[in-house]
């Protein structure tokens, strides 16, 4: 069984001209658990991963795998398996030949090609040209590439893109199993919901900066209790809740009341004689915590002993122009900048 390695980003910064895609990013990824790497599109995830893999040169800082830079690895594919995009194929080459190309480069026996294709469920189409593959099949082929060298570290950029629900479920189980075997598994996504069932550890990046590092439980602990309540007469309900000193936020589905449980809200409404149409406690709204972190509006520093260089608390940034600038990372920069989900 190959050993997992610790991945370490230390003060990694990347500037593309005037745009800072990654800004003093420091984080540590441990073996044995699936680590989710979260952030909106254009936050700098892909750039950070490409720096880790030696594809992009950092302006400052270092990213290492078990203490070594990627280019210093003696057997890169046997150490790290990485899938970065679903389109790195020659359409006229068969799936098996695609893998054979890189098995040769890594000095791996060609038997690994069939094994890797079998693991991801592509054995039946090994001889077919990749040009005819669906996006989901390409994702699986990308995953097969990562497994060629049976590496102890896996780095996957948005691996669920294009997978059907069954494929996503399979991917989750597969990644958990790889981590359970002691490997390091780093998976990026722009959707928290996509990896909250898989990842135990989380890194959240926004505008090139680390805004959270910790476990999923740490993130949940930050959440406050929220009651969602609605009434045909919203004005009266709002007035009653405000009079009781509660913070009311108007949502499409009703009013969101932070820091109050349903019993209290129901009692206030009853006392005010407001008939309710809905009252419920909302489960841990991780997505909202995530969005708040990403917006830099709330929850500055997480309880986080593992960060070597904790990010400085950020002020909420009300200037939309600056936002658009800072949001652009490599790909966004190349196109138009500031693309959002």
């Amino acid at each position: 069984m190959p050993d997992g390695h610790v991945l370490e980003f230390a003060g990694v910064t990347k500037r593309f001209g005037p745009v800072t895609a990654v800004d003093h990013f420091s984080a540590r990824v441990d073996p044995g658990v699936v680590t989710g790497f979260l952030g909106p599109n254009g936050a700098g995830k892909t750039t950070s991963l490409r720096i880790l893999l030696g594809l992009i040169t950092a302006t400052e800082g270092t990213a290492t795998i078990g203490g070594r830079r990627y280019s210093q690895l003696r057997q890169p594919l046997q150490t790290v398996g990485a899938a970065l995009e679903a389109s790195s194929f020659h359409p006229g080459r068969s799936a098996a030949n695609h893998l054979a190309v890189y098995a040769r480069a890594a000095g791996l026996p060609l038997s690994r090609v069939d094994e890797a294709l079998g693991t991801v469920g592509l054995a039946d189409v090994a001889g077919r040209k990749v040009g005819g593959f669906s996006l989901g099949m390409r994702q699986r082929l990308g995953l097969a590439y990562t497994l060629l060298g049976d590496p102890g570290v896996l780095v996957l950029d948005e691996p669920s893109n294009g997978l059907d629900p069954e494929g996503i479920k399979w991917m989750r189980g597969f990644l958990r199993e790889l981590a359970r075997q002691g490997r390091t598994v780093l998976v990026s996504s722009h959707l928290l919901t996509e990896i909250q069932q898989t990842a135990e550890a989380l890194l959240i990046i926004a505008r090139g900066r680390l805004v959270f590092q910790g476990t999923l439980a740490d993130l949940t602990a930050q959440d406050e209790q929220v009651a969602v309540v609605d009434a045909p007469d919203r004005a009266a309900l709002t007035a009653a809740l405000t009079a009781a000193g509660l913070d009311v936020e108007v949502l499409r589905s009703g009013l969101s009341v932070r820091g109050a449980d349903t019993v209290a809200v129901g009692a206030i409404a009853a006392a005010a004689g407001v008939a309710l149409s809905a009252l419920q406690r909302r489960g841990p709204a991780l997505e909202e915590v995530f969005l708040a972190l990403v917006d830099g509006a709330a929850h500055q520093s997480a309880p986080d002993p593992g960060t070597p260089d904790p990010p400085a608390p950020r002020e909420p940034d009300p200037d939309p122009a600056t936002d658009a600038d800072a949001d652009a990372d490599a790909d966004a920069h190349a196109t138009q900048g500031g693309e959002q989900r």
Partner: protein, 277 residues
């Protein structure tokens, strides 16, 4: 070790898509039909089967004919190794396969050196195909029309060897061009435009303008012809142009090699080490 692995990986890339055999087939048909046709024409002219008509009809003595026909491999066919070398690099940019390539071979210099080694092999393969076309077909036609094929002569075989070297060098030049230009369509169009229009026009102009011919000797196609030592074009144009001189064969080879090295080093420094995103 990693260099050999990188070269093997590159050769696997070459032989797992249809590009190489399609190009080889076109080379065989195009150069073969040119060699066969011209061999038939000039052999018939020189032995009197066809009456030599018109003042412009070039009279090529029978003993000068075989090298001219055989060297059509480079004179007409050098675009093919140049294209295969170019595509060997630009294909990576076009299909975004540099990412997996550099993940498997992180040291960029080794990755490029692997391409160069694979390019040498591809040059040999294409040289063999081209020689099958010109020597195989051409010599058969010459023999059929009763002209000595000169295949017993060491000089002929030395020239065939120089054709092989020229093919290898053209692949390497293509690798340099591909690394520098990156964009596949632009590189292919540029290579075709330069070899089929720009250089022939320059060389023709040089034949008529005093003082330019000295510089025209150093054009890549001219150095390739100099290396091989016999060319359909120079044989036809040199007398008409009043003796535009060519380089010695070894000097031609060195200049061609210099083109390859400069382009590859430039491509490495300017483009190959860039960020891949």
């Amino acid at each position: 070790m990693t260099l050999v692995a990188a070269a093997r990986s590159e050769l696997t890339k070459q032989f797992t898509t249809s590009l190489w055999w399609v190009l080889a087939l076109v080379l065989l048909v195009y150069v073969g039909s040119t060699a066969g046709g011209l061999a038939g024409l000039f052999a018939a002219l020189s032995n009197g089967t066809l009456p030599a008509g018109g003042a412009n009809a070039p009279a090529i003595p029978a003993d000068a004919l075989p090298p001219i026909i055989y060297s059509l491999a480079t004179a007409v066919g050098y675009i093919f190794p140049l294209l295969i070398g170019t595509l060997l690099v630009t294909g990576e940019f076009r299909h975004k396969t540099l990412t997996p390539t550099f993940l498997a071979t992180p040291r960029r210099g080794v990755a490029l050196a692997g391409k160069v080694l694979a390019g040498v092999v591809m040059g040999l393969v294409f040289a063999v195909v081209a020689l099958v076309a010109t020597v195989g077909l051409g010599a058969a036609v010459l023999a059929l029309l009763g002209i000595d094929t000169q295949l017993g002569s060491a000089q002929t075989w030395a020239m065939l060897g120089r054709i092989v070297i020229a093919f290898v060098l053209w692949v390497l030049i293509g690798i340099g061009v591909g690394a520098l230009v990156r964009n596949q369509v632009a590189a292919v169009v540029g290579v075709i435009a330069f070899t089929q229009f720009v250089e022939p026009i320059l060389r023709t102009v040089a034949g008529f303008v005093e003082g330019v011919s000295g510089a025209a000797r150093f054009l890549p196609g001219a150095t390739s012809d100099a290396l091989v030592g016999a060319s359909f074009y120079s044989t036809l144009t040199v007398p008409a142009a009043g003796g535009a001189d060519t380089l010695e064969w070894w000097a031609g080879g060195l200049v061609l090699l210099a083109y390859a090295l400069v382009l590859i080093v430039l491509g490495y420094a300017v483009s190959w080490r860039r960020d891949v995103s």
